[in-house]
């Protein structure tokens, strides 16, 4: 009995500091933000009404969903191509692929966005070269628009898409593929009818991660969109700091959390968490 009590005490003492810290520094202020959304500038559901009717807010929501969908498709496809080599290549190919995945992964989002500015801006690498070889006379607008945002976000998210794909490809049994080949299926056919279906859970997991990440993405769209291709996260920032409307910023945040939560709940119903990781 005494041991049981001391166990409970021990667990409480060890676990309490972090739970109290996050309760005070995360849960409580989040409720404060929810409270803002119902009380600023005046009590009521006014901000949520505004969300439903304001054409600017709606266009930002639609743009965010569109960009997130495109980025998800591009990054999962690109990640799939490089993961195949990372998991199934020769030892040398694996080292090179791993280098190309991990180096960008560990470099900060700002440096990577800046790299795209250096490549895509009017006086950047691509425009300078294209003009030097006389291919174009005027610089192409590659940045400060949706194109730049999509390129930068895809680049940022590919490494995140790689990890769920890699674990599903690693657990795949080689003998199945060899059997398909042995039964006369071509390389292409083996890939599309055996390899891809067997990595389905990895594809779903990585698409979910990328889509959720891109919904709340802030830094890359703000830098590469140049204020012209505003996504939800930047809209929240603008509502807090530029045209102070804290209530609306808070209401958008609440809607974003609910949306992401619903999305994850939906996916957890269809894909068991174990299959995803």
């Amino acid at each position: 009995m005494k041991a049981y009590l001391s166990d409970r005490m021990g667990a409480a003492l060890l676990m309490a500091p972090l739970l109290l810290f996050l309760g005070a520094a995360y849960a409580w202020p989040f409720l404060g933000v929810v409270n803002w959304s119902f009380t600023l500038p005046e009590p009521g559901l006014g901000q949520y009404g505004a969300l439903a009717t304001d054409p600017l807010v709606q266009s930002v929501f639609i743009r965010t969903l569109r960009i997130a969908a495109i980025v998800t498709l591009l990054s999962v496809t690109a990640a799939y191509a490089i993961t195949v080599v990372w998991v199934r290549g020769t030892p040398m190919q694996r080292v090179v692929a791993e280098f190309c995945i991990l180096v960008p992964f560990w470099i900060s989002v700002l440096t990577r966005a800046f790299g795209w500015v250096a490549l895509l801006s009017n006086r950047g690498l691509i425009n300078t070269w294209l003009q030097a070889i006389g291919f174009i006379s005027e610089p192409l607008t590659l940045v400060r628009n949706e194109f730049g945002v999509i390129v930068g976000m895809t680049h940022f998210l590919i490494p995140f898409a790689v990890f769920p794909l890699a674990s599903s490809m690693r657990s795949l049994d080689d003998r199945v593929l060899l059997a398909a080949r042995g039964l006369g299926s071509s390389r292409m056919r083996t890939f599309w009818s055996v390899f891809v279906p067997m990595t389905r859970s990895g594809i779903i997991g990585s698409a979910l991660i990328v889509f959720v990440f891109s919904l709340g993405f802030f830094v890359t769209p703000a830098i590469l969109g140049g204020g012209r291709s505003v996504m939800i996260a930047e809209l929240i920032y603008l509502r807090i700091f530029q045209s102070p409307d804290w209530g609306l910023g808070a209401a958008i945040s609440v809607v974003l959390v609910l949306f992401v939560g619903a999305l994850m709940a939906l996916l957890f119903r269809y894909v068991r968490p174990k299959q995803m990781i």
Binding site: M15, A25, G89, A97, V103, L110, G124, D174, S253
Partner: protein, 268 residues
């Protein structure tokens, strides 16, 4: 055992993706060597003036020192809290563990911009009470970073605990070790690699944190990413290119050393 290798089409596609991944990192090198004061390709001569600016301009040095201080404090804080919490989970396996762990992981799952507005609310509320611990103070930033990094530290420590053999702890318990002795002399020495990794990851995440930092600082607590952000938004400063080159080289070196060490270990 025969293995199934990727064919030529796969290799070509993967090479294109690899090129896409490395291209922006390579592009900053020529920009960092431009003699121009604005973002441009060097035409003809190269210059190291932007590297010199990093050393001579006190703003860069100050922000680097501030980022290190915030990183060390927030990483120490979040690693200790994550370690205690994970030990509690592993040693006592209390009821509602899944719910509690889920709660701790929230800052990792919630969109960062929502965490940012939440921490902005927290720090502006604290500012009303204390002037050196709230909005735009280094302690405030360190606390906010601890909130953001603690889920990652917890995951890493829980993973390394899950690989630990419970029987060594049971043996210590059976021989009469107290909870404190079991934690510090049996369990922690066996997961030190996980603890160190958690601390390092927390530091790196704090060092490059920008999404939240942007919401909770204005003029005083200018961390390195915050300073880069200012230089990127207004008039693009090529010193950022020079700094990026240095950060990329450090990353490549660390990764190379790590994989070399891993290979040497594997060889034995």
């Amino acid at each position: 055992m025969p293995t199934y290798r990727p064919g030529p089409v796969s290799l070509i596609l993967a090479a294109l993706v690899a090129l896409f991944l490395l291209l922006p990192l390579l592009a900053v090198i020529p920009v960092s060597l431009t003699p121009s004061r604005m973002l441009a390709m060097p035409s003809g001569e190269l210059s190291l003036r932007h590297y010199r600016a990093l050393i001579e301009d006190p703003r860069w040095i100050n922000s680097i020192l501030l980022s290190i201080r915030i990183g060390v404090v927030s990483s120490a804080f979040s690693t200790v809290l994550a370690l205690c919490f994970s030990l509690g989970v592993w040693m006592f396996q209390p009821r509602f563990t899944a719910v509690l762990v889920g709660f701790v992981l929230l800052p990792m799952v919630v969109p960062p911009v929502v965490s940012a507005i939440t921490l902005y609310f927290l720090l502006t509320s604290i500012s009303g009470v204390s002037s050196f611990f709230g909005y735009d103070t280094w302690l405030g930033v360190a606390m906010a970073h601890a909130v953001m990094t603690v889920p990652f530290a917890t995951v890493l420590i829980l993973v390394s605990l899950s690989q630990l053999d419970r029987r060594i702890d049971l043996a210590a318990r059976g021989l009469g070790a107290t909870v404190w002795e079991r934690a510090t002399r049996i369990i922690m020495p066996n997961i030190k690699f996980g603890i160190v990794t958690a601390a390092l990851l927390s530091f790196v995440l704090s060092w490059e944190e920008i999404g939240v930092t942007l919401f909770i600082t204005s003029v005083n607590a200018i961390t390195l990413p915050r300073l880069m952000w200012m230089g990127l938004r207004d008039n693009i400063d090529p010193a950022i290119a020079a700094l990026s080159v240095i950060l990329i080289i450090i990353t490549v070196l660390v990764l190379a050393v790590r994989s070399l060490v891993g290979r040497l270990r594997g060889a034995h």
